[in-house]
Symmetry: C2
Subunit: 191 residues, 2 copies
Protein backbone atom coordinates (compact mmCIF):
# COMPACT_ATOMS: atom_id res chain seq x y z
CA UNK A 1 0.00 0.00 0.00
CA UNK A 2 2.79 2.53 0.75
CA UNK A 3 3.83 1.89 -2.88
CA UNK A 4 1.20 4.52 -3.77
CA UNK A 5 3.31 7.04 -1.87
CA UNK A 6 6.52 5.87 -3.57
CA UNK A 7 4.89 6.30 -6.99
CA UNK A 8 3.79 9.78 -6.00
CA UNK A 9 7.28 10.75 -4.82
CA UNK A 10 8.73 9.45 -8.09
CA UNK A 11 6.58 11.88 -10.08
CA UNK A 12 8.70 14.67 -8.59
CA UNK A 13 12.04 13.27 -7.39
CA UNK A 14 14.34 10.28 -8.00
CA UNK A 15 14.29 7.86 -5.13
CA UNK A 16 15.64 4.33 -4.54
CA UNK A 17 14.24 1.50 -2.37
CA UNK A 18 16.64 2.17 0.50
CA UNK A 19 15.81 5.88 0.61
CA UNK A 20 12.11 5.15 0.40
CA UNK A 21 12.26 2.81 3.41
CA UNK A 22 14.11 5.46 5.41
CA UNK A 23 11.59 8.15 4.39
CA UNK A 24 8.63 5.89 5.19
CA UNK A 25 10.00 5.40 8.72
CA UNK A 26 9.01 9.03 9.45
CA UNK A 27 5.33 8.12 8.93
CA UNK A 28 2.70 5.98 10.62
CA UNK A 29 0.19 4.06 8.54
CA UNK A 30 -3.31 4.44 9.88
CA UNK A 31 -6.73 3.06 8.97
CA UNK A 32 -9.73 5.27 9.61
CA UNK A 33 -13.37 4.24 9.49
CA UNK A 34 -16.05 6.17 7.62
CA UNK A 35 -17.25 9.14 9.77
CA UNK A 36 -14.24 8.85 12.13
CA UNK A 37 -12.68 12.22 13.04
CA UNK A 38 -8.93 12.68 12.66
CA UNK A 39 -9.06 16.27 13.87
CA UNK A 40 -11.65 18.17 15.91
CA UNK A 41 -12.16 21.94 16.33
CA UNK A 42 -10.07 23.25 19.23
CA UNK A 43 -7.39 20.52 19.04
CA UNK A 44 -3.76 21.37 18.31
CA UNK A 45 -3.21 20.44 14.66
CA UNK A 46 -0.16 18.17 14.88
CA UNK A 47 -0.42 15.96 11.81
CA UNK A 48 -0.29 16.04 8.03
CA UNK A 49 -2.12 13.29 6.13
CA UNK A 50 -1.24 11.63 2.83
CA UNK A 51 -4.08 9.59 1.31
CA UNK A 52 -3.24 6.01 0.26
CA UNK A 53 -6.88 5.26 -0.47
CA UNK A 54 -10.35 6.39 0.56
CA UNK A 55 -11.54 9.94 1.05
CA UNK A 56 -11.30 12.59 3.78
CA UNK A 57 -13.00 15.93 4.06
CA UNK A 58 -12.22 19.09 5.99
CA UNK A 59 -15.05 21.22 7.34
CA UNK A 60 -15.87 23.85 9.91
CA UNK A 61 -19.12 24.48 11.76
CA UNK A 62 -20.49 27.90 10.85
CA UNK A 63 -22.45 30.35 12.99
CA UNK A 64 -25.71 28.66 12.06
CA UNK A 65 -24.34 25.34 13.33
CA UNK A 66 -24.09 23.94 9.80
CA UNK A 67 -21.08 21.89 8.61
CA UNK A 68 -19.36 23.79 5.81
CA UNK A 69 -17.02 21.48 3.85
CA UNK A 70 -14.04 23.34 2.38
CA UNK A 71 -11.90 20.50 0.98
CA UNK A 72 -11.92 16.85 0.01
CA UNK A 73 -8.83 14.65 -0.31
CA UNK A 74 -8.64 11.40 -2.27
CA UNK A 75 -5.71 9.15 -3.27
CA UNK A 76 -2.39 11.01 -3.56
CA UNK A 77 -3.62 14.17 -1.87
CA UNK A 78 -2.21 15.72 1.26
CA UNK A 79 -4.57 17.23 3.83
CA UNK A 80 -4.28 19.23 7.03
CA UNK A 81 -5.15 22.66 8.42
CA UNK A 82 -1.90 24.07 7.03
CA UNK A 83 -1.88 27.33 8.97
CA UNK A 84 -2.41 25.62 12.35
CA UNK A 85 -0.08 22.70 11.44
CA UNK A 86 2.86 24.93 10.53
CA UNK A 87 2.50 26.97 13.73
CA UNK A 88 1.40 24.24 16.16
CA UNK A 89 -1.90 26.06 16.82
CA UNK A 90 -5.37 24.82 17.66
CA UNK A 91 -7.63 24.40 14.65
CA UNK A 92 -11.05 25.76 13.66
CA UNK A 93 -11.60 22.71 11.44
CA UNK A 94 -12.64 19.09 11.57
CA UNK A 95 -11.04 16.41 9.39
CA UNK A 96 -13.30 13.40 8.94
CA UNK A 97 -13.28 10.20 6.87
CA UNK A 98 -15.91 10.18 4.12
CA UNK A 99 -15.01 6.54 3.28
CA UNK A 100 -12.98 3.89 5.10
CA UNK A 101 -9.49 5.15 4.33
CA UNK A 102 -5.82 4.26 4.66
CA UNK A 103 -3.51 7.16 5.26
CA UNK A 104 0.09 8.01 6.04
CA UNK A 105 0.44 10.33 9.04
CA UNK A 106 3.43 12.56 9.74
CA UNK A 107 3.81 14.99 12.65
CA UNK A 108 5.34 18.44 12.29
CA UNK A 109 8.59 17.68 14.10
CA UNK A 110 9.02 14.47 12.07
CA UNK A 111 8.35 16.38 8.83
CA UNK A 112 11.00 18.93 9.76
CA UNK A 113 13.53 16.18 10.53
CA UNK A 114 12.63 14.44 7.28
CA UNK A 115 13.36 17.63 5.32
CA UNK A 116 16.74 18.04 7.04
CA UNK A 117 17.74 14.42 6.58
CA UNK A 118 16.47 14.18 2.97
CA UNK A 119 16.85 17.60 1.30
CA UNK A 120 15.33 16.15 -1.89
CA UNK A 121 12.06 16.10 0.06
CA UNK A 122 12.23 19.92 0.03
CA UNK A 123 11.82 19.65 -3.73
CA UNK A 124 8.93 17.21 -3.35
CA UNK A 125 7.06 19.40 -0.84
CA UNK A 126 7.86 22.52 -2.86
CA UNK A 127 5.94 20.93 -5.75
CA UNK A 128 3.11 19.77 -3.44
CA UNK A 129 2.54 23.20 -1.92
CA UNK A 130 3.07 24.99 -5.25
CA UNK A 131 0.30 22.93 -6.88
CA UNK A 132 -1.98 23.12 -3.87
CA UNK A 133 -1.55 26.91 -3.86
CA UNK A 134 -2.30 27.17 -7.58
CA UNK A 135 -5.42 25.01 -7.09
CA UNK A 136 -6.54 27.21 -4.17
CA UNK A 137 -6.14 30.34 -6.35
CA UNK A 138 -8.42 28.76 -8.94
CA UNK A 139 -10.97 27.91 -6.21
CA UNK A 140 -10.86 31.54 -5.06
CA UNK A 141 -11.54 32.73 -8.60
CA UNK A 142 -14.50 30.34 -8.88
CA UNK A 143 -15.92 31.56 -5.58
CA UNK A 144 -15.84 35.12 -6.90
CA UNK A 145 -16.85 34.32 -10.46
CA UNK A 146 -19.42 31.54 -10.38
CA UNK A 147 -22.87 31.37 -8.90
CA UNK A 148 -23.37 28.24 -6.80
CA UNK A 149 -25.30 26.64 -9.67
CA UNK A 150 -22.48 27.38 -12.11
CA UNK A 151 -19.95 25.96 -9.65
CA UNK A 152 -21.99 22.75 -9.39
CA UNK A 153 -22.20 22.52 -13.21
CA UNK A 154 -18.46 23.05 -13.44
CA UNK A 155 -17.84 20.33 -10.84
CA UNK A 156 -20.09 17.85 -12.70
CA UNK A 157 -18.33 18.51 -16.02
CA UNK A 158 -14.78 18.72 -14.72
CA UNK A 159 -14.88 15.99 -12.06
CA UNK A 160 -17.78 13.60 -12.78
CA UNK A 161 -16.05 10.72 -10.94
CA UNK A 162 -15.88 12.94 -7.88
CA UNK A 163 -19.55 13.95 -7.97
CA UNK A 164 -20.48 10.25 -8.35
CA UNK A 165 -18.29 9.15 -5.47
CA UNK A 166 -19.08 11.73 -2.78
CA UNK A 167 -22.47 11.51 -1.02
CA UNK A 168 -24.83 14.21 -2.22
CA UNK A 169 -25.27 15.83 1.22
CA UNK A 170 -21.50 16.41 1.33
CA UNK A 171 -21.44 17.86 -2.18
CA UNK A 172 -24.17 20.20 -0.91
CA UNK A 173 -22.03 21.03 2.15
CA UNK A 174 -19.07 21.81 -0.15
CA UNK A 175 -21.15 24.08 -2.37
CA UNK A 176 -22.89 25.84 0.52
CA UNK A 177 -26.31 24.47 -0.54
CA UNK A 178 -28.90 22.75 1.56
CA UNK A 179 -29.29 19.11 0.43
CA UNK A 180 -32.87 19.96 -0.63
CA UNK A 181 -31.68 22.77 -2.89
CA UNK A 182 -29.10 20.49 -4.50
CA UNK A 183 -31.87 17.93 -5.19
CA UNK A 184 -33.89 20.69 -6.86
CA UNK A 185 -30.99 21.69 -9.12
CA UNK A 186 -30.28 18.05 -10.03
CA UNK A 187 -33.93 17.51 -10.93
CA UNK A 188 -33.89 20.69 -13.04
CA UNK A 189 -30.76 19.46 -14.87
CA UNK A 190 -32.38 16.10 -15.58
CA UNK A 191 -35.62 17.54 -16.97
Amino acid sequence: MPEIFKNHLEKFIDIDEREFSAILAFFQIRKVKKKENLLVEGQICKSHYFMLNGCLRKFFINEKGIEQTTEFAIENWWLTDNFAYERGLSTEFYIQAVENSEILVIDREAQEELLIEFPKMERYFRFIYQRAYAAAQIRLKYLYDFSKEEFYDHLCKGHPEFVQRIPQYLIASFLGFTPEYLSEIRNKKRS
Copy 2:
Protein backbone atom coordinates in the same frame (compact mmCIF):
# COMPACT_ATOMS: atom_id res chain seq x y z
CA MET B 1 17.13 47.77 -3.06
CA PRO B 2 17.70 44.04 -3.76
CA GLU B 3 18.81 43.90 -0.08
CA ILE B 4 15.08 43.55 0.70
CA PHE B 5 15.17 40.24 -1.16
CA LYS B 6 18.33 39.12 0.64
CA ASN B 7 16.70 39.88 4.00
CA HIS B 8 13.67 37.87 2.93
CA LEU B 9 15.79 34.90 1.86
CA GLU B 10 17.64 35.02 5.18
CA LYS B 11 14.38 34.50 7.07
CA PHE B 12 14.29 31.00 5.61
CA ILE B 13 17.80 29.96 4.53
CA ASP B 14 21.45 30.81 5.24
CA ILE B 15 23.05 32.67 2.39
CA ASP B 16 26.34 34.55 1.89
CA GLU B 17 27.11 37.58 -0.30
CA ARG B 18 28.62 35.51 -3.09
CA GLU B 19 25.63 33.17 -3.26
CA PHE B 20 23.22 36.09 -3.15
CA SER B 21 24.93 37.76 -6.13
CA ALA B 22 24.74 34.53 -8.10
CA ILE B 23 21.05 34.06 -7.19
CA LEU B 24 20.22 37.67 -8.05
CA ALA B 25 21.70 37.15 -11.53
CA PHE B 26 18.65 34.97 -12.34
CA PHE B 27 16.37 38.02 -11.91
CA GLN B 28 15.75 41.31 -13.64
CA ILE B 29 14.96 44.42 -11.64
CA ARG B 30 12.05 46.34 -13.09
CA LYS B 31 10.27 49.58 -12.27
CA VAL B 32 6.57 49.78 -13.02
CA LYS B 33 4.43 52.87 -13.01
CA LYS B 34 1.07 53.10 -11.24
CA LYS B 35 -1.68 51.55 -13.45
CA GLU B 36 0.90 49.84 -15.72
CA ASN B 37 -0.01 46.23 -16.61
CA LEU B 38 2.58 43.49 -16.12
CA LEU B 39 0.24 40.79 -17.38
CA VAL B 40 -2.90 40.95 -19.51
CA GLU B 41 -5.67 38.36 -19.98
CA GLY B 42 -4.80 35.99 -22.83
CA GLN B 43 -1.02 36.39 -22.54
CA ILE B 44 1.24 33.45 -21.71
CA CYS B 45 2.13 33.86 -18.04
CA LYS B 46 5.93 33.66 -18.13
CA SER B 47 7.04 35.57 -15.05
CA HIS B 48 6.98 35.46 -11.28
CA TYR B 49 7.26 38.78 -9.40
CA PHE B 50 8.89 39.53 -6.05
CA MET B 51 7.93 42.92 -4.59
CA LEU B 52 10.82 45.17 -3.50
CA ASN B 53 8.46 48.07 -2.87
CA GLY B 54 5.10 49.40 -4.00
CA CYS B 55 1.95 47.41 -4.57
CA LEU B 56 0.54 45.18 -7.32
CA ARG B 57 -2.89 43.66 -7.70
CA LYS B 58 -4.24 40.70 -9.62
CA PHE B 59 -7.74 40.85 -11.08
CA PHE B 60 -9.96 39.31 -13.71
CA ILE B 61 -12.82 40.85 -15.66
CA ASN B 62 -16.06 39.09 -14.81
CA GLU B 63 -19.08 38.43 -17.04
CA LYS B 64 -20.55 41.81 -16.20
CA GLY B 65 -17.34 43.50 -17.39
CA ILE B 66 -16.35 44.45 -13.85
CA GLU B 67 -12.77 44.14 -12.54
CA GLN B 68 -12.74 41.61 -9.70
CA THR B 69 -9.53 41.93 -7.66
CA THR B 70 -8.46 38.61 -6.11
CA GLU B 71 -5.03 39.47 -4.63
CA PHE B 72 -2.76 42.31 -3.62
CA ALA B 73 1.00 42.06 -3.19
CA ILE B 74 3.15 44.48 -1.17
CA GLU B 75 6.81 44.35 -0.05
CA ASN B 76 8.20 40.81 0.31
CA TRP B 77 5.29 39.14 -1.45
CA TRP B 78 5.48 37.00 -4.56
CA LEU B 79 2.79 37.32 -7.22
CA THR B 80 1.85 35.55 -10.43
CA ASP B 81 -0.96 33.43 -11.88
CA ASN B 82 0.62 30.29 -10.41
CA PHE B 83 -1.37 27.74 -12.39
CA ALA B 84 -0.59 29.37 -15.75
CA TYR B 85 3.01 30.14 -14.74
CA GLU B 86 3.86 26.56 -13.80
CA ARG B 87 2.38 25.18 -17.01
CA GLY B 88 3.33 27.96 -19.43
CA LEU B 89 -0.35 28.66 -20.21
CA SER B 90 -2.22 31.80 -21.14
CA THR B 91 -3.80 33.59 -18.20
CA GLU B 92 -7.32 34.73 -17.34
CA PHE B 93 -5.89 37.46 -15.09
CA TYR B 94 -4.39 40.92 -15.21
CA ILE B 95 -1.51 42.00 -12.97
CA GLN B 96 -1.36 45.76 -12.55
CA ALA B 97 0.61 48.24 -10.45
CA VAL B 98 -1.50 49.98 -7.77
CA GLU B 99 1.49 52.22 -6.89
CA ASN B 100 4.80 52.97 -8.61
CA SER B 101 6.68 49.77 -7.74
CA GLU B 102 10.07 48.12 -7.95
CA ILE B 103 10.04 44.40 -8.50
CA LEU B 104 12.30 41.45 -9.18
CA VAL B 105 11.19 39.40 -12.18
CA ILE B 106 12.12 35.79 -12.83
CA ASP B 107 10.95 33.63 -15.75
CA ARG B 108 9.93 30.00 -15.37
CA GLU B 109 12.99 28.51 -17.09
CA ALA B 110 15.28 30.73 -15.01
CA GLN B 111 13.47 29.71 -11.82
CA GLU B 112 13.93 26.03 -12.71
CA GLU B 113 17.65 26.57 -13.37
CA LEU B 114 17.96 28.51 -10.11
CA LEU B 115 16.44 25.59 -8.18
CA ILE B 116 18.84 23.14 -9.79
CA GLU B 117 21.91 25.30 -9.25
CA PHE B 118 20.95 26.34 -5.70
CA PRO B 119 19.05 23.46 -4.05
CA LYS B 120 18.67 25.57 -0.90
CA MET B 121 16.24 27.67 -2.94
CA GLU B 122 13.95 24.61 -2.95
CA ARG B 123 13.69 25.11 0.81
CA TYR B 124 13.03 28.82 0.36
CA PHE B 125 10.27 28.30 -2.23
CA ARG B 126 8.84 25.39 -0.21
CA PHE B 127 8.27 27.89 2.63
CA ILE B 128 6.90 30.55 0.26
CA TYR B 129 4.33 28.23 -1.32
CA GLN B 130 3.49 26.56 2.01
CA ARG B 131 2.62 29.91 3.57
CA ALA B 132 0.83 31.18 0.50
CA TYR B 133 -1.24 27.98 0.45
CA ALA B 134 -2.09 28.30 4.15
CA ALA B 135 -3.13 31.94 3.60
CA ALA B 136 -5.29 30.92 0.62
CA GLN B 137 -7.03 28.28 2.77
CA ILE B 138 -7.87 30.97 5.31
CA ARG B 139 -9.22 33.23 2.52
CA LEU B 140 -11.41 30.34 1.33
CA LYS B 141 -12.81 29.88 4.85
CA TYR B 142 -13.57 33.62 5.06
CA LEU B 143 -15.35 33.54 1.71
CA TYR B 144 -17.58 30.75 2.98
CA ASP B 145 -17.97 32.04 6.52
CA PHE B 146 -18.19 35.83 6.39
CA SER B 147 -20.71 38.14 4.81
CA LYS B 148 -19.06 40.87 2.73
CA GLU B 149 -19.63 43.36 5.55
CA GLU B 150 -17.97 41.02 8.07
CA PHE B 151 -15.05 40.50 5.70
CA TYR B 152 -14.59 44.26 5.41
CA ASP B 153 -14.71 44.62 9.22
CA HIS B 154 -12.16 41.84 9.55
CA LEU B 155 -9.89 43.54 7.00
CA CYS B 156 -10.13 46.90 8.82
CA LYS B 157 -9.28 45.32 12.17
CA GLY B 158 -6.62 42.86 11.00
CA HIS B 159 -4.89 45.01 8.35
CA PRO B 160 -5.64 48.72 9.01
CA GLU B 161 -2.42 49.83 7.24
CA PHE B 162 -3.60 47.95 4.18
CA VAL B 163 -7.07 49.52 4.15
CA GLN B 164 -5.45 52.96 4.55
CA ARG B 165 -2.98 52.38 1.75
CA ILE B 166 -5.13 50.86 -1.00
CA PRO B 167 -7.55 53.17 -2.87
CA GLN B 168 -11.13 52.59 -1.76
CA TYR B 169 -12.39 51.59 -5.22
CA LEU B 170 -9.84 48.74 -5.21
CA ILE B 171 -10.83 47.62 -1.72
CA ALA B 172 -14.38 47.53 -3.11
CA SER B 173 -13.18 45.49 -6.10
CA PHE B 174 -11.46 43.02 -3.73
CA LEU B 175 -14.58 42.62 -1.59
CA GLY B 176 -16.94 42.33 -4.54
CA PHE B 177 -18.72 45.59 -3.60
CA THR B 178 -19.57 48.55 -5.75
CA PRO B 179 -17.59 51.62 -4.59
CA GLU B 180 -20.94 53.23 -3.67
CA TYR B 181 -21.88 50.35 -1.41
CA LEU B 182 -18.48 50.50 0.31
CA SER B 183 -19.03 54.24 0.95
CA GLU B 184 -22.38 53.43 2.52
CA ILE B 185 -20.85 50.84 4.85
CA ARG B 186 -18.03 53.19 5.83
CA ASN B 187 -20.51 55.96 6.61
CA LYS B 188 -22.57 53.54 8.69
CA LYS B 189 -19.45 52.52 10.63
CA ARG B 190 -18.57 56.16 11.30
CA SER B 191 -22.04 57.12 12.57
